[in-house]
């Protein structure tokens, strides 16, 4: 049973997605319980899978019994299993969050919504596990197509954002596919481990360099790395609340994971191509993204837009961690990725509740809910501390390990970028809190309806997780150092 887990984890949501339109044809209201049950089943399975990987080492699952270079392979190593646990937990919370907000926000398309969410989750599982470059492309596209449809599901202004996302995402996917075909032409194989074995002899090949460049730009567009981030803020801002709350924490992080897998597992990370160490490039791009993203966030007045730019900045910080090429930086990057996903989820839940329950869309309106809604304000403060990176939260420890890694590598530019980005984050949260508390409501008799329980639950769990990840940062980072490091680091 335990060796089947990687396949089961992928097939559960896929099965649910394809049977949903048939099962829920007559009974629309079944779609929500089905999705909740499937995602709730994924959480213990992914914990079991993580335990199994820690105990017995990585699992390589050959589909239909054809072994690696010929067949399709699933690689469940430490990194993939940790990310998968995060993915299933946040997927479950996202679906729970979607319940009370959805009918209004989704324009009645409930079955569409849950079908696409299940498809998205299974595709993201595929990206996490995929052991070859072409299947990575397939799952990138499945995830992307379901997210285009999800962004535009309710119509209105989101359709424009979804169309822009579609155009840019398709360009990214095409570039990635082009790059993969170059690598295939050079090495004659698509399996990651197989390519990794053949690359050292081919470092002078121009096709290899062209292919890698295409792959990096393609994935850069997909994960909203700074020069290519144009699609993200609008898509997440205008998407309905239950959708941005699932897309924001998952899509960019999982694509980033795919990028890391290619850099560290396929290429040996320390390689130097034409006198340029590629990791230097990663760290430089990360530094750029972390500063520019945070500065752009400072300029926003729309809450979701601000959080979306914050997410772009955090992608940069994670990349700085991965770009250092030492175990501390790498583990810090993975740990910050976990934290960032939880914080993004929490922020978008908060923004969603503020809009759906109280009609608050911009920070100028935040004063209306300042002191009257303690749940919301409390969570926002906790997550804000995490985003800034103050000690009890996971955000602090993530940045701490990343800075330690950068110091170890003598990369002072990256250290400066992380600190600058932290200061800018502090600035936009101060701006947010200032609007929230200073302009207290003039109408103190405003009647506020109580927040539904499942919204409180999701918001509470994610805010608590921000702190819990900080408290247990030492064992988690130790686990990552023991289990999730790439070969040769």
């Amino acid at each position: 049973m335990s060796h089947q887990l990687p396949a089961i984890l992928f097939l559960l949501p896929l099965f649910a997605a394809i049977s949903m339109p048939v099962v829920c044809l007559k009974h629309h209201h079944w779609s929500r319980p089905i999705s909740v049950v499937i995602l709730a089943a994924m959480v213990p399975f992914s914990i079991l899978n993580l335990y199994n990987v820690i105990r017995h080492g990585e699992v390589r699952y050959a589909f239909s019994g054809w072994s690696a270079p010929l067949g399709i392979e699933w690689v469940a190593d430490g990194l993939a299993s940790v990310i998968l646990l995060l993915l299933s937990a946040l997927g479950l919370l996202g679906v729970l969050f979607a319940g009370p907000t959805s009918p209004k926000a989704l324009g009645g398309r409930i079955v569409h919504y849950y079908t696409l969410i299940m498809l998205l989750v299974s595709a993201l599982t595929g990206i996490v596990f995929a052991g070859d470059l072409f299947n990575l492309f397939v799952f990138l596209e499945v995830a992307a197509i379901s997210s285009y449809a999800l962004v535009g599901i309710a119509g209105g202004r989101a359709i424009f954002a979804a169309f822009r996302y579609l155009i840019l995402g398709t360009i990214g996917a095409s570039l990635y596919l082009l790059g993969v075909s170059y690598l295939y032409a050079v090495t004659g194989t698509l399996n990651m481990a197989d390519i990794a074995g053949k690359l050292p002899m081919l470092l002078d090949s121009k096709a290899l360099i062209g292919g890698l460049l295409f792959i990096f730009i393609g994935l850069g567009i997909k994960m909203a790395l700074v020069p290519f981030h144009a699609w993200l803020p609008e898509a997440y801002t205008y998407a309905p609340e239950p959708i941005s709350a699932i897309l924001a924490p998952l899509i960019t992080k999982v694509v980033l994971l795919a990028w890391v897998r290619i850099i560290y597992w396929v290429l040996n990370a320390t390689i130097v191509i034409y006198d340029i160490p590629i990791l230097l490039l990663v760290a430089a791009l990360g530094a750029l993204a972390s500063v520019i993203g945070a500065s752009l966030a400072l300029a926003q007045r729309d809450i979701k837009m601000m959080f979306a730019y914050g997410g772009i900045a955090h992608i940069g910080i994670i990349l700085i961690g991965f770009g250092q090429g030492n175990p501390t930086g790498f583990a810090g990057g993975v740990f910050y990725l976990l934290n960032d996903a939880v914080m993004q989820a929490s922020l978008f839940y908060i923004a969603g509740i503020a809009f759906c329950q109280y009609g608050v869309k911009t920070i100028d309106e935040l004063g209306r809910i300042g002191k009257q809604v303690p749940w919301l304000t409390g969570s926002l403060i906790v997550v804000g501390l995490g985003m800034i990176g103050l000690p009890p939260t996971g955000g602090f420890f993530g940045k701490w390990y990343i800075i330690l890694g950068a110091l170890e590598a003598d990369d002072y530019v990256s250290v400066a970028a992380v600190i600058l980005s932290t200061l800018l984050t502090l600035a936009y949260f101060v701006k947010l809190f200032e609007c929230m508390f200073r302009q207290s409501s003039t109408r103190s008799d405003d009647q506020f309806e109580e927040i539904p329980f499942s919204l409180k639950l999701t918001m509470g769990v994610t805010s608590a997780a921000v702190v819990i990840l900080g408290i247990f940062s030492a064992p988690i980072v130790q686990l990552l150092l023991n289990q999730a490091l790439p070969p040769g680091l």
Partner: protein, 150 residues
């Protein structure tokens, strides 16, 4: 909404042609094990036959009833495919490792053969439904909305 074609030549030809197209689709589907063909191509041909019937006799005609029903079965093909794969997993092998299809009285070679045919049928059903639904969504939006929203 697609209406029936009013030319008698087209109608008569269609009456002869459609069964032939369907038979050819099934032939390609099952021949795929031993030669060129298979689920994808077979599914496209089966779908093309139904599209032809809709174009000639109209969406509402009794001859197109099967196509209307099929449209609701989006995902059934994938269920067949995933079901066969799941049976292999229950039998103890990997997903889609047909040697582990637990059917008494069949050798491993025949199990593989049977497994391939079943998954190809699944693929064919899905391709057929997709082809038909593309035609519908290009011709009339409201049909698609009805078919999914119930």
């Amino acid at each position: 909404m697609i209406r029936s074609h009013d030319s008698i030549i087209v109608q008569t030809l269609g009456r002869f042609l459609i069964p032939v197209v369907q038979m050819f689709g099934l032939y390609v589907l099952f021949f795929g094990q031993y030669g060129p063909g298979g689920g994808f191509v077979g599914g496209v041909i089966l779908g093309a036959g139904m599209i032809l019937s809709i174009l000639i006799f109209g969406y509402d005609a009794s001859r197109s009833r099967f196509a209307q029903k099929v449209l609701h079965g989006d995902g059934v093909g994938m269920l067949i495919y995933a079901g066969v794969g799941g049976l292999c997993m229950i039998g103890g092998g990997e997903f889609l490792n047909y040697a582990n299809l637990e059917i008494p009285g069949l050798e491993i070679a025949s199990r593989r053969s049977l497994g391939i045919v079943l998954t190809q049928i699944g693929v064919a059903v899905d391709v057929m439904v997709t082809a038909i639904s593309i035609v519908f969504s290009l011709s009339a939006e409201e049909i698609i909305e009805d078919s999914i929203d119930g």
